[in-house]
Amino acid sequence: MMTLLEIKGVSRFFGGLAALTDISFQVGQGQILGLIGPNGAGKTTLFNVINGFYAPSRGEISFKGEKISGLKPHRVCALGIARTFQVVKPLQRMSVLDNVIASAFLRARNKAQAEEIATEVLDFTGLQDDRDLLSKGLPLGKRKRLEMARALATGPEMILLDESFAGLNPTEQNECMSIIRKIQGKGITIMIIEHHMQVIMSISEKIVVLNYGQKIAEGSPEEIRNNPLVIEAYLGEPQGA
């Protein structure tokens, strides 16, 4: 499998605090990679570094063989990496449709084309009936879907999903799951941060575990499930094998 995203020795410091220390792993094209770890482990920080909100203090990130670390977020998006935010950020005073049209303009040549892309994406994520509602009036489940729709409208090759399942009820979770599978079906690579173990274990092909800013494990869901370091990180003490 071709490597799409490569993270090499990435560290990120804030003053004296090391939020990330020497993180290295690769994401293969078309893969779904799960990123897990206890709260505060640095998962969202890693997304922020990949996305371009922070430059890595040390190390490098390459996408499709080209260095992207240090580029601003809009450049990273233009190169093909889209992201959603853990605390959703709808463009509140715009309608659902307008939210997605705004993202679609990245690849569209004119407004008509942007609207076309937007409509397609709204159908894809099941939001077509809500297209004219103001996004600030949407319930949480739909807001999370709107985040995904916006990210998809930028025509990415890779999408970073930050806790898309948090706060969703079981029905919404199933819907979200099927959307993610559809995204994978389109050939888009996915890296997903999640706390719902069931979700992560069932959809990820590979899992990377962070704790206190360091990578403590990497492997298949089966391997991770039985890894004593991972269990210790979550439960706080060594569990008998």
Binding site: N51, R75, R93, A102, L106
Partner: protein, 312 residues
């Protein structure tokens, strides 16, 4: 009906010199139309793009002085200031943007406020260029009759309106509002926020500068305290848009009309003359608390208060 209303308004304004209104009222009309230009310009940057500038006097003044200096130093007709101000104001806007656009929210407001004051102080001190506090006086007035001035500013206002409409309904408009609503989200969606904020700033600045250049030609006299004024230009600009309606097309028009009429009304009452800043201050406070989105922006609210509109 809605589409015809603006045309009727423009026609009425255009015919007004022939309807027998006196010169004073004509003057008020001209100033009101000028303020709609400035208001619409500010609205593009502030209302739609979310960057609240407290220093638009900077651009007004630069436009005004471009006209003035062309006349006083180069002996050219001050009207050349209009086309030339576009270039000069853009340069200033790029510098001001470079310094201020990296600042978020209220800090941008403060930064632009400082810019306006810096330009005023500079204009006062660089007497070799600007004649300092003596100001620049244009001795040969192009027309004695105000009619042509009205038409020029009316054309400018209509062009501004059309330009704004086109921009807001295009990709630029979407990007501006996205930046206003959530700058970080916008960045992640591939929007180069610095670049687009700069465009908004430059467009806004150019239109304001044109109004300034017009002002020099119309009034025939400018000085730093007038054209770079914090309260009487920068703050009034904000008031025009806030009273009328932020991020609406018609807001600045209504706001300009109200502000100018109010100013003239207060000035004409002898006892209250000096108190017009108090009135402005109070109006500002009232609008902010009760109608934060302005008259046009808060029409639903107004309807509720006056009991008009559908009852649920």
């Amino acid at each position: 009906m809605k589409k015809i209303l603006p045309l009727i308004l423009i026609a009425a304004l255009a015919l007004s010199p022939f309807l027998g209104i006196n010169t004073y009222l004509l003057h008020v009309l001209i100033i009101a139309v000028m303020w709609t230009v400035i208001g619409m310009a500010w609205n593009l940057l502030g209302g739609y793009c979310g960057q609240v500038s407290f220093g638009h006097a900077a651009f007004f003044g630069v436009g005004a002085y471009t006209s003035g200096i062309l006349y006083s130093k180069l002996g050219l007709s001050a009207w050349w200031g209009l086309p030339l101000s576009v270039i000069v104001v853009t340069l200033f806007a790029l510098v001001i943007g470079y310094i201020c656009l990296r600042l978020r929210g209220p800090y941008f407001a403060l930064g632009t406020l400082a810019m306006g004051v810096i330009l005023r102080v500079s204009a006062e001190n660089l007497t070799g260029l600007t004649e300092g506090n003596l100001g620049i006086m244009i001795r040969e007035r192009t027309w004695v009759d105000k009619t042509w001035y009205l038409y020029i500013i009316l054309v400018l206002a209509v062009l501004t309106y059309l330009l704004l409409k086109k921009v807001i309904e295009s990709k630029l408009g979407y990007y501006f509002v996205a930046i206003r609503e959530d700058q970080d989200a916008a960045e992640s969606l591939g929007i180069d926020t610095t670049y687009y904020k700069t465009i908004a700033l430059c467009l806004s600045a150019i239109l304001t500068g044109l109004a300034g250049a017009f002002y020099t030609n119309y009034m025939g006299y400018i000085d730093p305290k007038v054209v770079f004024a914090l309260h009487d230009i920068s703050i009034v600009t904000i008031m025009v848009v806030m009273v009328g309606g932020v991020a609406t097309f018609w807001g600045p028009v209504i706001g300009a009309a109200i502000m100018v009429i109010m100013a003239e009304a207060i000035r004409s009452i002898p006892k209250l003359g000096a108190a017009h800043h108090t009135f402005f201050g109070v109006l500002l406070i009232v609008i902010i608390i009760f109608l934060p989105n302005g008259i046009v922006g808060d029409i639903p609210k107004l309807k509720r208060w006056f009991g008009i509109g559908k009852n649920p």
